[in-house]
Subunit: 293 residues, 2 copies
DNA sequence: GTTCCGCATGAATCGATAG
DNA sequence: ACTATCGATTCATGCGGAA
């Protein structure tokens, strides 16, 4: 079923291999991709110095130089109407916020991207700790970049009901919660319309309140499922192509599959690739694999 | 009473005239101030193009150049252990977020400031709105700058009630639990639970959830009283000097007075100065006034 | 079946200690 | 002096077992 979308060829669009996890450096892997074949890029790149063991850790002073060749490929493979969402947060180094993220914003604009928006992901359950000179860091940036001023956006797909639910349940936008709410809304319409007459749906803001998923038995996703899910709903339709060039444990691909989008996940780490592929019922392939396009 | 603090001369500190509203451009007014006489600067500068009628509106492309001479004076009058909080948010211009704010961060660092932290002020009560390409902007930056790595900070003064789970757990901490913990402590095993006994407050994060005050129709920059209040409690003690060089309707000064700090407010707009002075029971003075120091 | 409680676990940061 | 490693600090969350 899911595979069948793989065979679809859109009008005026080259075929792109989808629903694949590819092991390799996205800088190299993406070179075999055709131009403008991706509708949405959602990713959380390796952070500075973190995960030194798995990714080698990028030094903050070299972060922009490391990133730009890769974002150059993102720019090429993204459709004109596509969107690039970059989840990132600068670290506090030596008592000061490092500037590599805002330098990256400037550099990406110079590369040709439009810096369209900056969403705030408010991490309700951030890492604890107390220091003499700062509090816990409870937010991350979700930077939105586009190639053109006109991009695809489906604002209605992320609307939330107004009223009591907005205060409590809908603050958490997790997949199960959302599904439950939607079913309740629909059944509510059927059974008791009067409760819903006059009740409106509201558009969200550019602040997202999501808790990190930390207690999971398996490997923790630094990135809650609801985060890519929200952007995928906002910026794509069914069967659109969603790329995560720094896939990690595979959260973006899982969200895309769940929402019946096509996914492409790339990661340098074989263990993560295989973990993600397993989650998705796919087989991870080598980055050296050449697509017949 | 409040005036009497005006006469206080701290050890090793020149006298600074306080509890005054001064009408003039802070670039000029501050030149008559001694070095290192201010403990905290909290301000929300004129935004780009907004408030064109009252402030003349600064063009985004010239914003950094306009700001730097003023921040140079801020740097001079601020004490070594003082803090500068800059509430600002870049506008979306021509479908894109303008970069003058992040350029300003880079420029301020070059000027000698440390970019210590970036707080997010989440404006939570506003009605959701929608544009074709974006949602309502529900957050602003509160950039923290310092002169030195060691600065005054009173974290206990802004603690918040703990999460529901822990609160209920602590409330139900029974006598046996308490006894067990105490015996553990005495025997030298286990953690020091006494830190948690009787504690119902937790340290906050760098995300501030404050509602905007919508009733303030006279001044377009609706800066809720709670915002300067929070930073004043966090970074100053009683009788410390709080400066707002772009005072607007006077919210920072009101917050400082309320918390028994000394205030200095500066604004170019005479109407705002008089409005603020009236609120504070003071008389606005001309910027040309020379302090006898 | 609910509700409640115990517990492990985080894309963290700083300061001290060691090489 | 400068870098690398380690321990201490801290709290929202979800899971699993208990009441």
């Amino acid at each position: 079923m899911q595979r069948s979308t793989n065979k679809r060829i859109m009008a005026g669009e080259m075929e792109v291999p989808t629903n694949k996890i590819i092991c390799g450096d996205c800088a190299a892997v993406l070179q075999s991709f055709p131009d403008e074949c991706v509708d949405l890029i959602v990713t959380s790149p390796p952070y500075v110095e973190c995960r030194k063991k798995t990714y080698g850790g990028i030094h903050p002073d070299h972060y922009v130089d490391w990133f730009l060749p890769r974002s150059q490929e993102f720019l090429r493979v993204l459709k004109r109407t596509g969107t690039f969402i970059l989840n990132i947060k600068e670290k506090a180094i030596n008592g000061e916020r490092h500037t590599y993220v805002i330098e990256l914003i400037m550099a990406l604009r110079k590369q040709g991207w439009l810096w369209t928006e900056e969403f705030v992901w408010h991490k309700k359950n951030c890492y604890p700790g107390k220091w003499p000179n700062r509090f816990r860091d409870a937010w991350e940036r979700c930077l939105q970049f586009n190639k053109a001023k006109k991009f695809k956006m489906f604002q209605e797909s992320v609307m939330v009901p107004m009223g009591e639910w907005r205060k409590s349940r809908l603050r958490k936008l997790s997949a199960t919660d959302r599904q439950r709410d939607e079913s309740r809304v629909r059944s509510g319409f059927g059974k008791n319309i009067s409760n819903w007459l006059g009740r409106e749906m509201a558009y969200p803001t550019n602040v997202l309140h999501l808790a990190t998923e930390c207690g999971n038995k398996n490997h923790s996703a630094a990135f809650p499922l609801a985060l890519p899910e929200w952007f995928i709903r906002l910026f794509t339709e069914k069967h659109d192509v969603v790329l995560d060039p720094f896939l990690g444990s595979g959260t973006t691909a899982v969200a895309a599959k769940h929402l019946e989008r096509r996914y492409i996940g790339i990661d340098t780490n074989r263990v993560y690739c295989e973990m993600a592929a397993k989650k998705l019922g796919e087989v991870a392939v080598q980055g050296s694999f050449k697509w017949s396009i």
